[in-house]
Amino acid sequence: MTRVPQTTPSRRRAGRIALNAGLVMFIVLYAAIVLFQPTYLEPGLFMNFLRRAAPLVILACGQLYVILTGGFDLSMGAVATLVVLAASILINGDPEITWAVIGVLYGMGIAVGLMNGLVVAFLKVPSIITTLGTMLLVNGLALAWSGGAARGDLPDNFRNLGRLVWRDVPGLGTLPVAVVVLVGFVTLAWFGLNGTVYGKRALAVGDNPRASELAGAPVAATRIIAFVVSAVSAVTAGILLGGFSGVSVNAGEGLELQAIAACVIGGAQLLGGRGSIWSATFGALSLFALFTLLNLLGLPQAFRDSIQGVILIAAVAVTAWRRRRRT
């Protein structure tokens, strides 16, 4: 560029601050963890940290798509639960059909995402209500199907996606499969937002759907795609969760709210129009680092929900304050 801009470009600056805020917060929190437990500096333990954080990061990336377009997806936790229960029922101990079942799981997820998207786009039901309904519906179906209690076991080849760790990988030492899935998913999500016109469309639709429609944007399709991506991320996270913790009827409980919190902490704006894949990724890593820290401090599990609430409010307040100061 030969032109010298007179002032710093405010939008790009905002993006950079958001990136830095999430990243800085993560580094600070991780440093605090290391202070208590220096072993976390070892590559092996860092990889393990990433492995356990993978489902939340993946969910946050999916949720980000919906948040950018100006909505919420509250049904992702329920979809993750459904995935775990359905996998155990469908596979039923037969490792031969694992991959086919995974295909079916993605099919179910896409169906849920399509339903959310179609209802929001065409029936004009606010997404918070639509996905709340879907959450109850999917949870109920999953419970009824499983008979109210977890049954069956997941075969090793399914569980390995979440828990297998390759050892002696050159340059890295250990490498969990979940981390490969994590990097792959974040890369794809990044490509979707930055490598195609979809990302800019989503931002415009989230910022002002009416203006976007009048400018010729396919508003309905943009919204539907966001819900489908979100549901696909929930299926992916569900598969990893099944590997970690086995079959349970509350495998995905509360994850949707954690994913929303992660996006917001990372700097994405609720109701759309601002945010990047990095806000979701580093927001989720920060949140997970916080959970880990609270565990190390020996605080009761219940406490972390309260802290999460406080952080969420603080994150939104700080964003709002910064924006007000700029005007």
Partner: protein, 505 residues
């Protein structure tokens, strides 16, 4: 003048990061006077009024109201001192009744209960005083913009406002309602209210103002009595140069082939619409507020489509049911309410200019390449003279004129054949207006067509090659270039029938 001014602001300065918004501005307004403030966008008018209203605190300078120095820290204090500001964007609650809005925060209470009867009575009195025929029980959302504005004024009068600031009060009004409003301003002046009047419309300012103050780049240029300030001098002071040729000249060559032809078009708001747009033509659409001129624009761009009739685009019958279809067919829409319908305010200038191109591209098109790349769009934005420190900055920070230019770029990039403008220069300063008119003319001269819907009569007469006039959802006639405001007004009021007025349709 020996009267002590109702309002006097002395040496007001205010700086924002990087911008000196006001620099030692003096301003005063006496009771029973209309004092107009003119200036381009960004001249500091709004900042000055926000300081008066208590929204901003000045860096330097003093404010005196009725001879008493005051320091506001909150807008409510300004209201209590009898300062009422009526903003361009109205601040009424749409789902509440007129009475509830007028008494918002100041409800009459008897024995702990709202005294609705008393409030309705008092509201009716206030409305009567300003000559508004509104039932105080109706919901605000069911009122036209013009009537809502009157409610806003009634609300100000409830507080017994001694100083009334009106920020572009006629921007959203058509000719007839504007006249009513100006009559009301005269009434209030007779009652001894000091009125600060901000407007871009020169005829209004010269008609209503007793004194005129010009602001430019945060400084006061001069304050003069209105009778010693002809429009040419006002304009020169505002823009710092003469605007000899404000409207571009008429085209030399006759219009070409028919681009768009509508016959028998109707829907809920429109009836028997028939007209055509030829290559090289700018067609104006005039009419009063609910005449259907807005509905015509919506129908052309597929937002509220025609239900019946035929529409031919380039000779081929076409049905446009969504804005996306209209966009694909080569029709671009530039809405009057840019903030609500035209812009994604938190996105960059570039993103807004590229919105349509990106929307029409295939989903997996790579952004940032070719026509979607920064270099190409920056080039076009520079050609259009969109002024921004950086095209990556949020478009919400730009002036109205630059925002409108960015929207024009959006449709130029899409290579649209027909542009539908609604109120193309609403809230846009004079210099940018001239640039937008010039762009419109050269767009048409390159063999494309424009339909421009406007409430600004001089604008239509100046820019359009032909003006079609609407009345109650129908085209009541059309006038050729060179016709006067009277001709259009008669058609708009339905005074001369279709048979009389229709020349070319």
């Amino acid at each position: 003048m020996t009267v002590s001014p109702a309002l006097s602001m002395t040496g007001i300065s205010k700086a924002f990061p990087g911008v000196r918004a006001l620099d030692g501005v003096d301003f005063e307004c006496v009771a029973g006077e209309v004092h107009a403030i003119c200036g381009e966008n960004g001249a500091g008018k709004s900042t000055l009024m926000k300081i008066l209203g208590g929204s901003y605190r000045p860096d330097a300078g003093t404010i005196e109201v009725a001879g008493r120095a005051i320091h506001f820290t909150h807008p409510r204090q300004a209201a209590e001192m009898g300062i009422a500001i009526i903003h361009q964007e109205l601040s009424l609650l749409p789902h509440r009744s007129v009475t509830e809005n007028i008494f918002m925060g100041r409800e009459i209470v008897r024995r702990g209960f709202l005294d609705k009867a008393a409030m309705h009575r008092k509201a009716a009195l206030l409305l009567k005083r300003i000559g508004a025929e509104i039932d105080p029980r109706t919901l605000v959302s069911s009122l036209s913009i013009a009537l809502q504005q009157l409610v806003e004024i009634a609300k100000a009068l409830l507080l017994d406002a001694r100083i009334l600031v009106m920020d572009e009060p006629t921007a959203a009004l058509d000719e007839r309602d504007s006249r009513t409003l100006l009559a009301l301003v005269s009434t209030l002046r007779r009652e001894g209210v000091a009125i600060v009047y901000i407007s871009h419309r020169m005829p209004e300012v010269t008609a209503i103002a007793d004194r005129i103050t010009i602001l430019k780049d945060g400084r006061k240029v001069w304050t003069r009595r209105a009778d010693s300030a002809p429009v040419t001098e006002i304009v020169r002071a505002m823009v710092g140069r003469d605007l000899k040729e404000f409207y571009p000249p008429a085209p030399v060559s006759p219009p070409g082939k028919v681009l768009l032809a509508v016959a028998g078009g109707n829907n809920a708001a429109l009836d028997e619409i028939a007209f055509e747009v030829r290559a090289g033509e700018i067609i104006g659409v005039a009419g009063l507020e609910d005449s259907g001129k807005g509905a015509l624009a919506s129908a052309l761009v597929g937002d509220a489509p025609f239900a019946g009739g035929t529409m031919m685009l380039g000779g081929k019958p076409t049905a446009l049911r969504t804005p996306r279809q209209a966009t694909a067919a080569g029709i671009g829409y530039l809405p009057g309410d840019r903030k609500r319908e035209g812009l994604a305010l938190r996105q960059s200038v570039r993103d807004n200019a590229l919105l349509t191109l990106r929307s029409m591209a295939g989903l997996f098109t790579r952004p940032f390449k070719g026509a979607l790349g920064n270099a190409k769009i920056d080039e076009t934005l520079r050609t259009m003279d969109v002024r921004a420190a950086d095209f990556g900055q949020e478009i919400g920070t730009l002036s109205g004129g630059n925002q409108q230019k960015a929207i024009i770029v959006r449709w130029l990039e899409q290579a649209s054949q027909i542009l539908v403008f609604v109120e193309p220069t609403r809230g846009i300063d004079i210099a940018a207006k001239a640039a937008i008119y010039e762009t419109m003319r050269s767009f048409a001269d390159s063999g494309r067509g424009i339909v421009v819907v406007s409430s600004d009569m001089p604008e239509l007469i100046g820019i359009a090659d032909r003006v079609i006039v609407m009345h109650q959802g129908r085209i009541s006639g059309s006038v050729a270039r060179g016709a006067g405001e009277e001709d259009i007004m008669n058609l708009a009021l339905g005074l001369s029938g279709p048979a009389l007025g229709r020349t070319v349709a």
